[in-house]
Structure formats: structure tokens, C-alpha cells
Amino acid sequence: MKLTVSDLTFGYNGKTILDGISLDIEKGVIVSLVGPNGAGKSTLIKCIDRILKPQKGTVYIDGKEAAQLSSKDFSKTMGYVPQSTLEVFPYTVFDIVLMGRRPHIGWRVTGNDVKIVSRTLRFMGIEEFASRYFDELSGGEKQKIAMARALAQEPEVLLLDEPTSNLDIKHQLEVMNIVKKLVSERKISAIMAMHDLNLASRFSDSIVMLKDKRVFKVGDPRSILISENIERVYGVKAEVIKDSRGMPYIMPIEPV
């Protein structure tokens, strides 16, 4: 599925957050949205997923306007993983992932839904948590469960809002590896808001740099993550070295 964002503008209380964002996202790629705090990364993700309603602009799915789809049909095309999930009430892991089947089911859960949920749990390697309660789990496990819920939707685009920001380094890598595996095995696309430039560099096919409510630059990590761009977007002097695979590794030195 090809996703096109055209001239998207969003703001509230007279304050503009996104100003004329246009993007093309091909099928089966990992795209990272990077930029300083307040650049509009999360907002853009929410606008694409229709959680927020943009004042202007259109999102096209394979050339068709996303706004024309019913909310149920739309939710079959895109899955959303929030930055953090807080469950006020007790749910088991299985029940939470089963919620991802909501767009597909009426009142009754079919054997197929149960199969998809358990397959998703296995794919994520969290099968043994099925009967555990969500609040008993660690931050990394919770993140995987939120991802599993979005996957159970069987979306063609996965939207992740800072998926690694609260995780330790091992869980960061695990989560990113899962995204990578998903994109290559299921040919879906992943769009992530990312703070960690080095993870973005290692795992993305394409990087979208946001600055002052607009798209600053788009391209592959090698061409985008250079000291000049980082200084202009973040206001930080940074040294960019190459890792063993030739991908840029950013070492921030000092604020300008």
C-alpha cells in the first residue's frame, strides 16, 4: 500500500503544529520521522491515523482519499502504537491483543480471531504472557503488547509513536528488530516518530526530518544524517561517524 500525505496542516487554539506537510511513503519501507521536541512528529502520526483531524490537506491510500473510508475500514489499514499505554483496569495480555481484532469482529470472537491473536503473540515472542495481567509487566513487555495489538488489526501501515523512548537498550533493539522483520515479511510499511537518531539511522529506509512545522529534508539515512542538517534542525554540533556497516552514527558534541 502506498501512502501519500498532501499539504497537511494542523493546529489548535490558533497555534499551528504542522504546516503544509507532503510525503510519499512506498510499500514495505521503514520511515523515521525525526526532529526536535515540538517539531510535530507525534502530531503528524496522529493526523495520518485520523486520531487528529487536520484543518487542511489530504491523506491518500493507494491514490484514494483516506477520509472517504469508514472508520472501521480505515482501522483495518492502519495500526497505531502509542508512546506508552496505561491500562486503568485489569486486562490480560491476550484480552488486550484481542482488542486489535475490534475492526474485524462483531460481538462474537471467532476461532480465527483467537488464532490470529495467538499467532501474533508468538511472532512477538510474548506468548507466555498470554494470561498475565498487563500491569504486572515491564515497560519493554508492555511496548511489545501494544505493538501486538496493532498487528492483530492486520494493518498495512504501522504507525509507532516513539516506540523506543522508554526502553532499555536490549528492548530497544528487540522492538526495532520486530519492526524490521514485520516490514520485510509482511510487506507492510512502518512510520515511526523517533528521538534516537542512531536507531533511526540503523533501522530506517528513509528519514523525514521535520523542522519548524515543515518537512526539512527527506532521504536515506546516509544523506540526511549529516552534521550540517543536525546543526540546522537541532541546533547541536555533532560529529557523524560511520559504523561497521557504513551507517551514520551521531555523537552530539554541544548545543550551538
Binding site: 495500526g79 491476550f94 475490534r102 503473540l121
Partner: protein, 355 residues
């Protein structure tokens, strides 16, 4: 347990679902058995056998029963028991739905000001003799009902001004509750002896006014509203993960919220208009069920209703038999019986999800 069983998620889910279904059935049977038992309990000493014959005689004109037994069982006890069950169901269901839709464990028809609104409407009818609609015997009921609905409309309206924030809605409900309490206090302060007594009784709640003519209307209404609310189980489940996730799962959060709040308000208002203020059940029944079977609304809603029915039926039976022929207001006993039970569950269960 073999390793295979532990890691087979489908098996785990099937087992959990079966447990929850069983729990629902056990509650259902418990309510039915307790109802049968309650029929034979009361100031007039009638055996269980005799009570059965009275009920049977209604359908098959073969048995000889005394008119006294007939009046006691058919006109006094049965409608009251049925009223206890449907009131308990309504409060339990409404509590579960309201807590779910607002994602807050402290919410209940009581905390949202609905009970105070109803009480205020009733007090106005009792003390001032003024009603919104109708006259005569139902003026109190109708006033209580509409004041309750009005409260929710105002509370929701206030929250809409600030973009339907859940916190605003709950706080507005609590604030309205205080306002209504103040009006009630004022009415009590200025009312005469006879009216004051009646207001106090209404505020304590009771099922002694139960009549067939009301019960017959309320039973289908309560079941219809409960069934409607249960259709939103999935939406409520998804909404408990937060508004954004719910939207991305294709749910129209605002519409679900308005519909569920409206339906559960009508559900609550239609019973408390008859019974007066019965607090605690709406708050605690959902929690009792959550501690035992978790929060899946497909099971939580019916179970919470049944636990409410159980709690209210036990309390009401106790309060009309403990010091018979007089009785204790049921509101007092629901708290006496329910609070220790709830605290026991709270302390005993290791899971601490409410933090």
C-alpha cells in the same frame, strides 16, 4: 501442567473464557436460589412449601391456599424481591459501564451526582409539592427521574465546553452532587415534620414501596437497556486503552461515550426514582467482578449486574427480617454487608491494578 499447555495461548484463552462463563452462571443461579429463599423469609412465618403452593396456585387453580398467604407472598414479597433484583442489576450494570466509559474506578451513579439529582427532584416534590410532569402518586418518581437525567445533561454539557475531557465530566458530576445536597439540606431545614420524615426516608432508600405495576414496567426496561449496553462491550474494552488507541481501532469515542452515559443514566434513574438513594452498589459491584474475573466488559457488565442483584437482595432480605416486624432501611445494610466484603477482596487479592 505440561509446558505445552502453559504456552498455548489459544488454550489459555479458552480456559479463561470458560471460567468467566461459569462465574456468570454461578452468579445467576445464586440470585435465583436466593430469590426463592427470600420468598419464604419474612415477618409472617410461612414455610417454603406454603410459599411455593401460593405461587403455583396462581398458575394452576388446584391448590388450596389462604388469602393471607396469598397477599403476603404475591403482593408483598414477590414484587419486592423482583424490585431488589432489577435495582441491583441496574446499579451494577450502570456502575460498570460508567467506570469503563470514563476510565475511572471511582465513578458511579452516586459520584456523578445522579443520585443527588434524583434525591433533589424527589425532595422538591415532597416538600414543595411541585413536579415537572404529572400529579398525584407519581409526582415524586417522575421528578426524581427527570432530575437525574437533567443532572447528566448538565454535567455532560459542562464537559463539552472543555472538549469532553473525562476529568472535567467527573468533577462537574461531583460538584453538581454537592449543589443538590445543599438544595436538599435547605429543603429539609425549611420543611415541616411530616415532609422531613418522608425526605429522610427517600434519602435512605428502600424497596418497601415495590408494586407489581412498577415492577412489570421496569423488568423489560432494565433488560432492554442492559442488552443495549452490552453491545458496546468491545468498544468499552478498546476505550480502556485510551482514547487514541480506541480511535485507531475504528471507534467513534465521543458517540460511544454519549450513548453509554445516556443509556446507563436512564437505567439508573428509572430504578432510583422508585427506590430512593441506594449508593455503594453501583460503585462496588464492578470492582468485585473485576477482582474476580478481570475487566472484559462482555463478562463484566452482566456479572456486575448480578453481583449488584445479589448484594441488594441479601441486604434487603436481612433488613426486613432481622428485627421484624420493623425493618432497617436497606441503604444502611448494603454498606454494612458490602463494605467488609469489598475490603476483604481488596486486601486479599494480590493484584494491585488500581494504583
Amino acid at each position: 501442567m505440561t509446558e505445552d499447555e502453559v504456552f498455548d495461548a489459544e488454550e489459555v484463552y479458552a480456559r479463561a473464557s470458560w471460567k468467566k462463563t461459569l462465574f456468570t452462571l454461578v452468579l445467576f443461579v445464586a440470585v435465583a436460589l436466593l430469590a426463592v429463599f427470600a420468598v419464604s423469609m419474612g415477618a409472617a412465618s410461612l414455610g417454603m412449601g406454603e410459599c411455593f403452593r401460593v405461587v403455583l396456585a396462581e398458575f394452576m387453580p388446584v391448590e388450596e391456599v389462604s388469602t393471607f398467604a396469598q397477599v403476603v407472598v404475591l403482593q408483598l414479597r414477590l414484587p419486592r424481591i423482583l424490585m431488589a433484583i432489577i435495582t441491583g442489576i441496574s446499579l451494577g450494570v450502570a456502575g460498570a459501564v460508567m467506570q469503563g466509559v470514563l476510565r475511572n474506578p471511582l465513578v458511579s451513579p452516586y459520584t456523578l451526582g445522579l443520585s443527588s439529582g434524583a434525591a433533589c427532584g424527589a425532595a422538591i416534590a415532597i416538600v414543595l409539592g411541585v413536579g415537572l410532569l404529572g400529579t398525584g402518586r407519581y409526582i415524586i418518581v417522575i421528578n426524581a427521574f427527570f432530575f437525574s437525567l437533567l443532572t447528566m445533561a448538565v454535567v455532560y454539557g459542562i464537559s463539552r465546553i472543555k472538549g469532553t475531557s473525562v476529568e472535567t465530566l467527573i468533577l462537574a458530576g461531583v460538584a453538581m452532587g454537592y449543589l443538590f445536597s445543599a438544595v436538599i439540606s435547605l429543603l429539609k431545614y425549611t420543611s415541616g415534620h411530616e415532609e422531613l420524615r418522608e425526605v429522610v426516608f427517600w434519602l435512605m432508600g428502600g424497596l418497601y414501596t415495590a408494586r407489581w405495576e412498577n415492577v412489570i414496567v421496569l423488568i423489560p426496561a432494565v433488560f432492554f437497556l442492559t442488552a443495549l449496553l452490552m453491545r458496546y462491550s468491545w468498544d468499552l474494552n478498546a476505550m480502556s486503552a485510551g482514547e487514541e488507541v480506541a480511535v485507531s481501532l475504528g471507534i467513534n469515542v465521543n458517540r460511544v461515550r454519549v450513548t453509554c452515559l445516556t443509556l446507563s443514566t436512564i437505567l439508573t434513574a428509572s430504578v432510583i426514582a422508585f427506590t430512593g438513594v441506594i449508593g455503594f452498589i453501583g460503585l462496588v459491584s464492578p470492582h468485585v467482578c473485576r477482582l474476580l474475573i478481570g475487566n472484559d466488559h462482555r463478562y463484566l457488565i452482566p456479572c456486575s449486574g448480578l453481583v449488584g442483584a445479589l448484594l441488594l437482595l441479601v441486604s434487603d432480605t436481612a433488613c426486613r427480617t432481622m428485627i421484624s416486624p420493623t425493618e432497617i432501611p436497606v441503604g444502611i445494610l448494603t454498606s454494612f454487608i458490602g463494605v467488609p466484603f469489598f475490603l476483604y477482596l481488596l486486601v486479599r487479592k494480590k493484584r494491585r491494578w488500581w494504583q
